[in-house]
Structures are given as C-alpha cells and as structure tokens.
Symmetry: C2
Subunit: 460 residues, 2 copies
C-alpha cells in the first residue's frame, strides 16, 4: 500500500502544509496577522481546518476572532468530531451564529447538538436561519433525520412541466439538489421522483405526475442512519429522500453526507470488540478515556478470577504435576485465538448485512467444521511438541485433547455469543474478545486440568 | 439501534422478498418459467440480485440462461464479491460478454479481473465495448485506476462556451457525468474544472479556460484506492479526476464508486487484528478458510510455547507455591487486554489518517499515562482480592506489582508494535491481538514468576 511512488506526492503535500503552518505560526509570533491570514486564505478550507486545529489554543482563539463568518463556516464544515468540539467551545455565540447561518443546515444542526443545551438555544436565537434549522433539531444525531438536509427540491405532482421549470428557475437550486427532483402531493406526501432531463425534454403542458417514477425508495427520519446507508449502498443512490411517520417528505440525505457513517460504524464495532468505547480517540483527553477502559478491565478481571477459581479447584493436581502449569495458559490462549477469529467474522458479517438470523445454522456448521479440523491439526502438533519436550506421552495426549475441545468451544462461543446478543437486541460487538475468552479460559482450564486429574496416574 | 418502529418496516420488506422468493421457487418446481420471470422482473435489480443469489445452483443456471443481457448486466452490478464470483463462474463467455457490454466500464473491468485470465481474454474478445474497457484493465483492483470509470466529460480549455455546449448536447451526458466538467489541454493534461451552471450563464464567446477553476485536486491512477477515498472524504467531493503519471486525465472516480472502499479497508483491518485474512467471509468455502486460519493459530502456538518456556524456567517456584499457578493466567491476560485496547486504537487511528508518525510521541505518552493509572487501580484491586482469598500478603503484593508492570508493557507494545510495522512499510494491522499478547504473556509470566521467586520466602 505504501511502496508506490504516490507516497512521495503525499509527503510533499505534508511538507507544504508544514511549511505554511510554520510560516503562519512565525508570522503570529511577530504579530503580523494580515499576512498570515492571507497565506491561510489561499488554502482549501479542508486544509485551513487542518492547520487551524494544529495551532496553539491562544493563537487559534485570536485567529478565529479575525476570520470572516464565511471562512469560519467552511472550516467548521471540514473539521471532524473531537477537533470541531474543541473549536466551537472556544467561540462565543455571536461569533458562531453567523457562521452557522452560512453552513449547510445538517452541519449547523450537528454543531448545535454538540453545544451544551443553553449555549445551543442562545446561538439558535441569534441565527437568521433559525426557522429552517429548528425543525431538524429534534432528530437524534445517529438517525436518518439527524443526517438529512432540509435544503431539497420538491415538485408538486399536479404541476405542469412549465410550472416545474418556473419553480426551478426561481429557487435556483445547486447542482447537488437537482440530481433527483422529488415529487409530492399537496400535503407533502412523497409520491415519486423525476430527473431534470425528463422535465426538460417533456412538453410544457405535461403534468409532473405523468413523468415521475412512483414507488421511490425512502427512509424514515426516525430510523437509524445505518438504514439510510444500507439503502444508498444497496441501490447505488446519490441521494435518498427522508419521510416522517406519515410519509411526508422532510429531507434528503446525499451520499456524501452518509459516507462517514460506514467508517463510524466500523470503528464502533472494532472498538467494542477490543473493549473500548465508541468515542475513544488518540486526541481525547486522558481523563475521559480512563474510566471507560477501566470498567472494561474490571469486567475482564472478574472473568479472570472465575477462571482462577477453576485452576484453584485443581491445585492438588498441579501440585503433583508441575508441568501442567507450564502448558495451561497455552491451551486456554489458543482456544481464545480460534474464538476471536470466529467472533470477529460473525460481528463484521452481521454489521455488513451479510449474515442475518436465518443464516446462523449453516454458519455455525461451517465454524464447527473449521474449529474441528484446525483443532485436530493443532492438537496433534501440540501433543508432538509436548512429547518431544517433556517426554511424557500421557501429558501430550491430555494437552492435545484439551486444545481440540477448547478450540471447538471457542468457535461455538464465537458464533453463539454475538448471535444471542443480537437476539436480545443488543449490539453483537459487545461480544468482545475479552468476554469471549472468559469462556475459552474457564473451559480450557477445566478440560485440561480435569483430564489431567482423571489421568493423573498415567501422567505423573 | 433496533428498538425503533422502523424495524417493522424492514421486517415487512424481508417478508415480502421471502414471499416472492418462495413463489418463484415454487413456480420453477412446476416448470412455469415465464410467470416466475415476470415476478422477478418487477423488482429493483438490487432485490433481483439478492433473490437470484439465494436460488439453488441448478435453478439459477437455468434462470440466468433465460435472462436478457440487460437484466443480467444489472444483476451483476448489484451483486457483491463472493456471490458475484459464484455467479460469473456459472456463465459462459457468450452469455457474459453482452451483459458486460451493457454494464458500467468499471464494473465490467472488476468482473474481468475476477475471471481466470484465459476466460477474461475470451470474454473481452466477444465484447463490443472492448476498446473502451481494455485500457482500464492494466490497473490493479485496489488502485484508483481500478476504481475509475472512463465514461467522463472533458472539455478543452481553448474551446468557447458555445463549442462546449455543442459538445455536451452531442455527447448527451448522464446526470452523474455533468456534476463536474473537467478541462484539459489538447494533450489531455488536466487543467481545471468548471460547473455546468458556469458554462450556461457565461457568454457564448468566452473561452472555457477563463471560467474554469485551476488547481483541481486529482489522484494518480497507480495510487492506492484509499488515497482517492481520503481525498473525496477530506474535500467532500462527489467525484475526483484520475490522472496518469504525466497528469493526463484518464478517468473519474465518483463517490458511490469509492463508498465501499471505506468498509473494505475497515473489514481488512478488523480481520487482520483477529488473525483472519482479508478475504474471509461466512459464505467462503471451508477449504479456502482452513489454511489461512491455521497458519495464524500456528504462529500463536509458537509464541505460546515461548511463554511456556518462561513458565518452565520457574517450575521450582511453582512447585513450592502452587497458588502462583492460579493467578498466573489472570496477570498475563489482563496485560493482554490493556494492550489490545491500545493496539486497536492505534491501528484504527492510523487507518483513518488521524495519527501519523509525527503524532506518535504524544500518543505514547497518553497511553503510558492511561496504562499507569489503570495499572495502579487494577493492581490494588487485584492485590486486595488475592489477599482476601488466599490471606497471603506477600503473594498479593507480588501479584499487584506484576499486573501493574504488565499493563504498562501492554500499552507500550500496543503503541510500538503497529508503529514499527508502519515504519518498515508493513500493515500496522498485522500487529494483531495474538502477536501483541505474545509480549504480554511472556513478560507477564516473567514479572510475576520472577518477583515470586525473589520474594519466595515471604510468600511461601
């Protein structure tokens, strides 16, 4: 991925940013603000956002105060999550409000959601676009409603082509908005979709109703943003209409608005599998990261003590055959590894919609066969190595058998734990590696120590 | 995520598909093909693709032979990876070629890449669009060139607005193609970009050169598809021009073409972290899954034996104090859990471009502080529980100290292992949980057993 010549271009670009950042910082040291602003202004807003977020807080606050609302609005649109939060906390409502007026409605809503309630109300009062933005505020961030924009074009089905064209000329939509033209009845119920080209080539008297494609796919505002993402991906749409519970058109989600959702959901699953919460980030203040991680470690410790209890129950066997203690962690660990492979596959397949509850049985069969086949191979390998090392045939056979049993346990738990979580409507990704290895640790110790106790006379 | 009423809609939709599938299958049983085809034809191609991939191989082969090329082409466009592979393996070249002629060029290229070389050549020979598709074939699947389409609109910079409009009317571009109009010189070097609106409102004699925005962001065809994804995300583009090494415009990537890349890359990282290869899937034949998983388990077993060697070196201490064997796995495991939290965060942050090599030092500091803080808390908790359980103050203090040392080891390895892999240009996600826990197992056992040996007289 990194060996191609393209990397050099990338490095050059970074070096360029670096040079400009240095020069801006330097100019600020000397108090020459206008020149620094001029240099910044030449960059793309995405790059401006990048540079601004790298400045010291003091310099940044000074700089932000001097930005015109338009620049500020663009920078806010290109900043992500934590970095945007940092920035808006430094801005006063009278500075923020005009910038939000110039932003896309969905971005303004996102930012208002990020502010403390009192500051959000204060900022909204100062906004001239309050009437457009306020209706979007009730939708939670991660719903389709939270991702949509209310800046869309809707034609009425009983208009003629002539009326539709007059309306389009009058509203002067952007290129993005004319991609799909949605058609509603007089009560704003979504009826169909029509393309600009179909409107342009039709005769002026044709009713829009006769041109539109009915049965347009839509998403409800209250649905999870993931539903919108899946529809857009499934049908390769550029935009998706959003309706309320009475099927009235309330907004539109475009593919670029929803693009980040796929990454966010993947990050969330990946983090949960590792025992991190979804807001974890390398730039998150340490104080906010400590507790969520600690909670997870305490859960892992509790399950570890349960496994320790199993070992403790067999302490006389260990006392008699010390070599058991040597291989115990290996047997528990390998069962865990096999289980983590399975649980990761299951969680990801469910997230991507490739596996639903109907597909569980063949998948369980598949994983059991894989666990069994690899369990036999790893079991034989392990037994051979243990025998070669310790020269103890009994121990070798017990260890090999225990690993086979534990790998089958691992893949079974790897399927059933996330599936059970899903069945009770919890996130399958909560079946993290740490929870799964509780099973493989406890049962791994139990199989190995149990077998060793039964065959103690043959081993010792 | 699943508690809202929207789920019922989803379930109803699934029930609908289910009913149609049943009815189609039933119709096939009775040999009434036309009616089944009719029912299928009423569905959206994405749904058709879904249903077709659920049919038995025999029924499907019969059905595919009866599809018109256009239907087949649409179904292929909506099928994903494994399922599409299954399908195209069942189609003869004379059936496949006309379907590919009707597909988007980038999809035709994807499918030709999936075929064995000989069949791909045979199919290409039969295609009427071979001349358009062949130039796209040299680009590997996961590069920008492999994602682009050659169906784009390029205007020449020395054309007038009038000439540009005549060209547009003549080529009759789709809505997607007129989103951005790219401008080149006579040798096809990319010079700028202009919007349809700018063309329409300008006076007919104006040269396109005067209207265009120069310095358009582009991506090289040989670059990784991830670079294209990052640019589109960073700048919120709907499309991105692709150039060759001489900066000649060779194609365009649109946001819907690149959308799946984010998910693919996330899946790849998630799978690698768990010791799965990137092509793993719940519908992959078992034979192909066995070996990659086994290889990883053998690697894990090898590192497990290294850890066992450490335990073995201290067998006389365990022989003297059996309680050590009880807590040994817990101490190794918790260090591993802390390390997996860190490595997952680092790998994901690198993948999302939120962390580059410059940001390593503050991140290492951050993780060390978190590891230290949580290590002290977990260490004290563990010591208290061990003391309460075993009434052995020496053992409690040794266990608590060992867990603190091992958690700091875990977070350090969690940062340094993926960073080192990246520094030598390997994928940081290869620093999987299993590799990381090699460190925490070996050092965890070493800390605990070493301390226990030193203070054996105080513990026993």
């Amino acid at each position: 991925m990194s060996e191609d010549p393209a990397d050099q271009v990338h490095d050059e670009e970074e070096a360029l940013d670096e040079a400009i950042l240095e020069s801006v910082l330097h100019l600020f040291d000397e108090g020459v603000h206008p020149e620094a602003l001029e240099q910044l202004a030449e960059l793309h807003p995405a790059d401006q956002a990048d540079l601004v977020s790298q400045l010291d807080e003091e310099v940044r606050t000074e700089l932000l105060a001097r930005f015109p609302a338009e620049t500020l609005s663009q920078i806010l649109a290109y900043l992500r999550d934590e970095r945007r939060l940092e920035l808006i906390e430094e801005l006063s409502s009278p500075v923020l409000a005009p910038a939000l007026d110039l932003a896309d409605f969905d971005i303004a809503v996102d930012i208002l959601h990020e502010l403390p309630a009192e500051r959000a109300r204060e900022t909204l009062r100062l906004m001239t676009t309050a009437a457009d933005v306020a209706p979007l505020l009730p939708y939670a961030d991660e719903t389709a409603g939270g991702r949509m924009t209310s800046a869309f074009i809707a034609l009425q089905e009983d208009w003629t082509v002539d009326q539709a064209l007059a309306y389009l000329r009058q509203t002067a939509p952007t290129a993005e908005q004319v991609f799909y033209l949605y058609v509603t009845d007089r009560e704003r119920h979504l009826q169909g979709v029509v393309s600009l080209r179909e409107i342009v080539v039709a005769s002026p008297e044709t009713p829009v109703r006769d041109l539109m494609t009915p049965d347009v796919v839509s998403v409800r505002a209250s649905e999870d943003q993931e539903e919108a993402l899946r529809s857009i991906q499934r049908y390769n749409f550029i935009a998706l209409p959003v309706v309320d519970d009475e099927r009235r058109l309330v907004g539109v989600i475009s593919v670029d608005d929803i693009m980040d959702v796929a990454e966010e959901e993947a990050t969330e699953d990946m983090f949960r599998l590792a025992g991190l919460d979804e807001d974890e980030s390398v730039i998150r203040p340490i104080g906010r990261s400590l507790l969520p991680r600690l909670v997870w470690l305490v859960v892992a410790m509790t399950s570890g003590f349960m496994a320790a209890g199993v070992v403790d129950a067999f302490d006389s066997t260990i006392d008699r055959i010390v070599a058991i203690a040597v291989f115990m962690p290996l047997i528990a660990g390998l069962g865990g590894n096999a289980g983590v492979q399975t649980v990761t596959l299951i969680v990801r397949s469910m997230a991507l919609g490739e596996l639903d509850l109907r597909g569980i049985r063949p998948t369980l069969q598949r994983e059991l066969l894989i666990g069994l086949a690899n369990g036999v191979i790893i079991g034989v390998l392990l037994a051979v190595i243990v025998f070669a090392w310790k020269g103890n045939a009994g121990l070798a056979i017990v260890a090999g058998t225990a690993i086979l049993l534990n790998m089958v346990t691992g893949v079974t738990a790897g399927v059933l734990v996330p599936v059970s979580l899903r069945a009770v409507r919890l996130d399958p990704a909560l079946a993290s590696g740490a929870l799964l290895t509780t099973f493989t640790d406890i049962l791994g110790f139990f199989f190995f120590l149990g077998l060793a106790t039964i065959f103690a006379d043959q081993i010792a």
